[in-house]
């Protein structure tokens, strides 16, 4: 008589320490081996797109903040340059530079959370707190600029809400020289740690072709070895003026496109962002930031798809205008939403512990997935 066996269905979340928010994973297991992962979304569906239809164009900006709440600045960024393109506004040089400084600082802050919580998923508690300590310094920079720590509503259509604080430049330079050595500390503590490498190398390998077909973008795509960064490949704002590298996964300790590569690409990107911020500070021109602020935001009839390189990947806004002050439709192409779809593909045949490692390495934000 054959032994009766059945697959174990493990329900992870919505309250689970490492689903990075309110994600629910339905995991089918054979022993500890994963056969299928079904993500269930929508536990944080806050109806962004409905709100966008009911609000005027500038009123939508605070709602964009609340999508990817770890990279609010960048969400503002993408939306306002989209609307500016529809209106045909050219913003002053100073505004462009400030936007880039803020955007890149935000990228560092977002990667800090990504790396820190990834350490937490693997079981290392301390790097998380070190990174959060350093993140506070970036938040302080944002706070002296616009008064908010997390959700800024800083970039406006055609300008910015506040000019830089007189101390901003000095503090930012201090932060850069403070944080550079801390990246090495992180590498010593976590990145090259033998146990960490064992846990992440060769796990969840994402081949380049699959990644492209699934629409994966951002660090996850670059970790698979493709040098594709919208800041270079489809430049927006003034990114073409800066000199920076695009780090790609090289498979230093395992296969190209494994969890470790995804982690390491983010570490390298933080260094590049510091470089961009430094250059932007050196070139920062004087000027009035609210010169181009339109009296009334009322784009002509038509549509636009504006994409930017958010810390998580390609953030796209598809805006349709019907010629009134309210957008007719704003559809957001959220990078995490697309990146998460690959989870099932990646985790098949791995262990339960690896799902956590893979999910963490994708760096998702539920606010953006569910919107």
């Amino acid at each position: 008589m054959a032994l009766k066996t059945e697959e174990l269905v493990l329900n992870m979340g919505p309250q689970h320490p490492s689903t990075h928010g309110v994600l629910r994973l339905e995991v089918q297991l054979e022993g500890e081996l994963v056969t299928k992962v079904t993500p269930h979304l929508g536990y944080l569906h806050r109806c962004f797109e409905k709100h966008a239809e009911a609000m005027t164009y500038p009123q939508v900006i605070p709602y964009t903040d609340r999508m990817d709440y770890l990279a609010s600045m960048y969400n503002n960024f993408g939306y306002v340059i989209g609307v500016e393109k529809m209106l045909g506004i050219q913003v002053p040089e100073r505004v462009e530079y400030i936007r880039i400084i803020m955007g890149e600082l935000q990228r560092i802050a977002s990667h800090m959370v990504a790396l820190g919580t990834y350490g937490l998923d693997i079981g290392a508690f301390t790097p998380f707190l070190y990174l959060f300590r350093d993140r506070e310094k970036i938040l302080t920079l944002f706070e002296i600029t616009c008064g908010a720590r997390l959700l800024y509503n800083y970039m406006w259509v055609g300008g910015l809400s506040h000019d830089l604080h007189p101390d901003f430049e000095r503090l930012t330079r201090e932060f850069i020289s403070y944080f550079r050595p801390n990246i090495d500390e992180l590498n010593n503590l976590l990145t090259y740690n033998k146990i960490f490498v064992e846990r992440t190398a060769n796990i969840g390998v994402l081949p380049k072709e699959t990644a492209i077909n699934y629409g994966i973008t951002g660090p996850n795509l670059r970790a698979s070895g493709l040098k594709y960064d919208l800041r270079r490949n489809d430049p927006y704002s003034i990114y073409d003026r800066f000199d920076f590298e695009i780090p790609v996964g090289e498979g230093l300790v395992g296969t190209v496109g494994d969890c470790w590569d995804r982690f390491y690409v983010r570490v390298l990107e933080m260094e590049q962002s510091l470089k961009i911020v430094e250059q932007a500070l050196n070139q920062l021109p004087e000027g009035d930031i609210n010169e181009a602020l339109p009296k009334r935001v009322k784009p002509p009839k038509g549509s636009i798809y504006q994409r930017v390189e958010n810390p998580k990947g390609e953030l796209g806004y598809f805006i349709i205008s019907d010629g009134t002050v309210n957008p007719f439709r704003v559809k957001v192409r959220a990078p995490s939403f697309v990146n998460l779809a690959i989870l099932n593909e990646l985790s098949k045949g791995h262990l339960v512990a690896d799902i956590i490692a893979i999910l963490g390495s994708l760096d998702i934000v539920l606010g953006e997935i569910d919107r």
Partner: protein
């Protein structure tokens, strides 16, 4: 790099029996308008065709065009009868570095669009979302369920339609403020 016009010409040559047109009055992007029930083969060609190579689907958005007849109900709310729902496809070619936008429309009463899920896996969740929000049925989609709203949300209630009305209660919880 190819403009929308050039792509349109290539498509017309390849599929003489399918109607294409260019939506012209756009401020920045020109949009190729085509048939909702032929979108699968068109997209397959766009992905594999020489000189096109659209290897990723950046975005897929469902839109309620709200171009039907507006009827006012007794309680003051509006219902839209007739008209169309549209789906926009934003395609990108990493290899050749060009992009384009496609648009298809379908009737509001029984919205049916062919799924492109098998061409770009990225379309999977986008299509589910369009179904969830607007009720557009994607033919040949393997797993067309609600994705963001609860699975037991009221049948036929699609929040992003322009004439959507909140239900009073969901599982005993009051929905309006």
């Amino acid at each position: 790099m190819k403009t929308a016009k050039e792509i349109l010409e290539i498509l017309q040559k390849k599929f003489p029996e399918i109607e294409f047109s260019l939506v012209e009055d756009e401020p920045s992007d020109q949009i190729i308008f085509t048939d909702a029930l032929k979108i699968h083969e068109i997209c397959e060609f766009l992905r594999d065709g020489e000189g096109l190579k659209f290897d990723t689907l950046m975005n897929l958005s469902g839109v309620d065009d709200a171009n039907g007849e507006k009827q006012t109900n007794d309680d003051g709310s509006e219902t839209i009868v007739g008209g169309t729902l549209s789906v926009y496809y934003n395609l990108d070619s990493i290899e050749l570095n060009h992009k384009t936008t496609l648009q298809v429309s379908t009737s509001r009463e029984s919205p049916k669009v062919e799924s492109v899920n098998l061409i770009w896996r990225a379309a999977d969740w986008h299509e589910r979302e369009a179904y969830d929000m607007l009720g557009i049925k994607f033919l040949n989609h393997p797993d067309l369920r609600r994705i963001l709203m609860p699975y037991d949300w009221e049948e036929g209630s699609y929040p992003l339609r322009k004439d959507y009305k909140d239900p009073e209660f969901y599982q005993g919880m009051k929905v309006p403020y």
